[in-house]
């Protein structure tokens, strides 16, 4: 069932499935990097390293390269797509993206990043995914599987 918490007995770890709408197709997996704060692209991210640089952002100094980036939505400059586009050309793009709020910035940014991306979820990814969880994104099917980080 969508959103049900299943128990994986062999690994004794919890898994969770979220369902949403495909933004950009493809399949990818990686460690989650979660922020409840909106992300500024141009001026908020250094595309050469994929690092958040916005003053007072909770992820300041942290890179999203290779991570499954989970965030509420995009804010700030219209250079959002260019910044993520450049991060991809630098090899510093996120492996996948999950966001809640569809804006032109976030949608175009996801398209040019070529990272599998999902939105419009049945369960809020910000409530159900934590930084460090292992996340598998099948954007073509709109399915996101979350394996909790061992605590």
């Amino acid at each position: 069932m969508s959103g049900a918490i299943a128990s994986d007995n062999t690994a004794a770890r919890q898994t969770l499935t979220l369902r949403g709408r495909k933004v950009v197709g493809g399949v990818a997996e990686g460690e989650a990097l979660v922020t409840r704060q909106h992300i500024s692209g141009w001026g908020g991210v250094d595309p050469r390293t994929g690092t958040i640089i916005e003053t007072r952002h909770e992820l300041r100094g942290v890179s999203f390269a290779g991570k499954v980036l989970v965030f509420p939505g995009a804010k700030g400059s219209s250079g959002w797509s260019s910044t993520f586009h450049t991060a991809r050309l630098m090899g510093m793009a996120p492996a996948a993206m999950l966001y809640n709020e569809t804006t032109a910035k976030a949608a175009l940014g996801a398209v040019v990043t070529h990272a599998p991306t999902v939105t419009d979820f049945d369960l809020d990814p910000l409530q159900h995914i934590e930084t460090g969880d292992w996340v598998r994104v099948d954007a073509d099917r709109g399915v996101v599987e979350v394996v909790r980080r061992a605590t």
């Binding site: 709408r21 933004v23 950009v24 909106h38 500024s40 001026g43 908020g44 640089i53 916005e54 003053t55 007072r56 939505g73 995009a74 804010k75 700030g76 400059s77 219209s78 250079g79 959002w80 797509s81 260019s82 586009h85 450049t86 050309l89 709020e101 569809t102 804006t103 032109a104 910035k105 949608a107 175009l108 940014g109 996801a110 398209v111 040019v112 991306t117 419009d120």
Partner: protein, 430 residues
Amino acid sequence: MRLTDQEKAMADGRDGPGIQKAMDLLLRYGEALGAERLVETRNVCSMFTASMPFQRDYAIRQGSMDAMLSEFNLDSQETVEIPPFRAFTSQLQIGFDSAHAPSLGVGEEMMRFYRRSEVHMAGLGAQLMNTCTPYQVGNVPTRGEHCAWMESSAVIYCNSVLGARTNTEGRESTSAAALTARIPYWGYHLDENRYATDVIELDVDVDSTEDWGILGYYVGEQVLERVPALTRRHGTIRTPNLARLKHFGAAASSSGGVEMYHIVGVTPEALTLEQALGRRAPQRTFRYGEAERRATYERINSTAGSHDIQFVMLGCPHYTIEQIWEAAMLLQGRKVHDNCALWIFTPRTIKALADLNGYTRIIEDAGGVLMSDTCSAVSRMIPPGTRAVALDSAKQAHYLPAAVGVQAWFGSTAQCIDAACTGQWRGALQ
């Protein structure tokens, strides 16, 4: 998405590979948005000319302007020939001011490449306005006109003050729009998404340009990407001019993602609060009083510490001729301090007017520089040795510390000119 026969033909390659790649990008983007169709546009603001080292290096490595444009402007890894534009297209701000290249540390190789890209893009139909404020220099859309603009401070002005319609597009989508005269029909193109969701009740007078900047920063933090309607709790709002709304919108689209706002009795889709709200109840209501004003001022100034100022930058978004006049009058008979630099940014065509009016001479005689085409946050160019900068733009104060690693003081234009002439920040919220 549902496409017209014309659009299907463009997508199928009838008009060549450049148009086909542009349609491919628009279709991928439209699907990502959940858009049902495209809309025709005759007004595009984008970024084409190559004024960044990364683009220059890419173009040189791949061997052509078309290679750079295919990747950076159309997200096409296959190099296609970029044909002339079909829509009226304005070039936004760029990475430096070519008239001040040596003092900005721009080398000859970069300049040669930039000149080449400038000629190339003008040949395709790009209007080389080179400003974040195209609405100041000949691109003033009419109410209801469907546009494809990028530059968040221009987008919010286009939607809110002019009543034209655009989302905050990006480099790739606006480039595709220039080539196809199409953009996804989504978001702020539709009536129902333009109504206010939130109400901001002003409980304090908002009058100066500085005050409008502080209010914009507060509004962006509170409503993020939703649509606010501003109203005065008692009485009416004193009508703000172009410069005030330019600063207000730039701040609101930096601290948040505001793309559209209403000011009751001022902006065209808000003759009344009921009209602004589309006769619905607001989702949230915020009260902006003296306490909120002071707390916001403190947050904009959160990076500041040292009172020794090495650099004063004005013109974010690009100054109006009225603001240049004001700065020149404040500078007349004074000198910029030996330990400080003063740079003011405006569109090229307004700089020509400032030259004619004698303002450029006044600024230069005082030791300041009037520049065009760029700003410090975009170019990442500041005078060597700058540790603390003074700004009259909440937007620039938001971005510049992160972009170049300096402290920033935000205040009024008069306080900034005073800092330039004394090398000391003595400003405080009035």
